[in-house]
């Protein structure tokens, strides 16, 4: 199908019965949505499951969808709501599903940061600790942070996607950055960055 056809045209074609129009929309957005969800849930299988759920919901709702926003914004809205629900459901479990050995290793590394300032962390472990700090954010903080930082959205678009006021988005962003600053402080105190 022609790349020049814009999303809204494809939506109209789908509404008038063209299955292929939905295939094309899915082809356009599955990589972005999957990537966004993978970053959000950090687990390949769960990200796949949520991606399917996004397109499932989109397929069923598209017939009655009135384009007040861009189609892509609407997809991100569905994906964000699903990922927020996912995080709330998992709130009492560790976000990382680690093998026992890995969990122990992580704990050791965390101990190293606070008790052994001289020790240089391996890059891999350091990266993992930073991502764990990101995963410590509340579901909304993390969602806002991810949309603004890694999905190339301006604050206005994040607000539109999440149905929040721009001021609220900024408050979440601000808290997210403050919290990250606190959580990451040991890294900076122990290592020159």
């Amino acid at each position: 199908m022609d790349k020049m056809i814009d999303d809204e045209m494809l939506v109209a074609q789908f509404k008038s019965g063209s299955q292929r129009a939905f295939d094309e929309l899915m082809k356009r957005y599955q990589r972005k949505i999957f990537g966004y969800l993978l970053r959000s849930v950090r687990n390949y299988e769960d990200a796949e499951e949520l991606t399917l759920e996004v397109f499932f919901k989109a397929y069923r709702a598209l017939g009655s969808w009135e384009p007040k926003a861009k189609f892509s914004t609407w997809l991100y809205t569905i994906a964000s709501n699903l990922s927020i629900d996912y995080h709330r459901a998992k709130a009492r479990q560790p976000v990382y599903i680690l093998e026992d050995e890995e969990a122990i290793e992580t704990k050791l590394v965390a101990t190293d940061i606070s008790s052994n300032p001289e020790k240089q962390l391996e890059d891999k472990e350091r990266g993992r600790l930073i991502r764990e700090a990101v995963d410590e954010l509340s579901a909304k903080q993390k969602t806002v942070f991810m949309l603004a930082r890694y999905e190339g959205m301006q604050i206005k678009e994040v607000a539109e996607t999440l149905g929040m006021a721009e001021g609220t988005v900024k408050i979440h962003l601000h808290r997210a950055i403050k919290k990250l600053q606190t959580l990451l402080r040991p890294l900076w105190e122990n290592n020159e960055i």
């Binding site: 063209s18 299955q19 899915m26 599955q30 796949e48 499932f56 890059d123 350091r126 930073i130 900076w188």
Partner: protein
């Protein structure tokens, strides 16, 4: 040094490049004299840089799971039919009729609709939910996928006919569209129907 009235929200706007040009230069002027804001900007940028490194390492490129479309259509086929009100179904029914009869006079739409309703009442219930919502739940998953595929072909076929009617003069598009339906319909009765339509188009133009 004057007392700083800058809010943290303003600083975040700056870091995120959300300030307008004049605001940006005003703020950068302010930075030359305000340690508090300078520290805040540096702090936020350091957080973002650090997280960027870790996130880029986590996902240098995304490998999308395979066959997402197939999995989606299987899930759709397995899903419970959605309950729709009689009114919605009626309006959908007429909307579809209207599309088919797009450029005809309203009178012919009405007569045709009436005729269809009368015939359909004798043949079966015309107001059942649209085809993709009435999958038989007693079928096996594979049978439902197959059923779904047939409905898909049917929808595409209707799409061709509607578009053929609308563009009327552009046979090339219609032929290529019909050929796609024919390919998709290999092994079903729809392939023959598409073939007959192709012959008809060739004779028309």
């Amino acid at each position: 040094m004057p007392k700083c009235n800058i809010s943290e929200a303003h600083v975040i706007d700056y870091v995120y490049g959300e300030l307008e040009q004049t605001q940006t230069s005003d703020f950068e002027n302010h930075l030359t004299t305000c340690n508090k804001c300078t520290r805040m900007v540096a702090g936020y940028n350091r957080v973002l840089r650090t997280v960027d490194e870790a996130e880029n390492e986590f996902m240098p490129h995304v490998i999308v799971p395979r066959n997402l479309e197939t999995k989606l259509y299987k899930r759709l086929a397995d899903a419970q039919p959605e309950k729709t009100s009689l009114l919605t179904r009626l309006s959908n029914y007429f909307a579809k009729l209207h599309l088919v009869m797009h450029e005809q006079k309203i009178a012919s739409v009405c007569i045709f609709s009436l005729a269809v309703i009368v015939v359909a009442f004798f043949v079966g219930n015309p107001f059942r939910p649209t085809a993709d919502l009435t999958l038989n739940r007693t079928n096996s998953a594979n049978a439902r996928i197959e059923q779904y595929r047939h409905q898909d072909i049917q929808r595409n076929f209707e799409d061709v006919l509607r578009k053929k009617h609308l563009r009327n003069t552009d046979s090339w598009d219609t032929v290529s569209h019909l050929n796609r339906v024919k390919d998709q319909a290999q092994g079903t009765d729809w392939a023959n129907i598409a073939n007959n339509q192709l012959k008809r188009v060739h004779s028309e133009f």
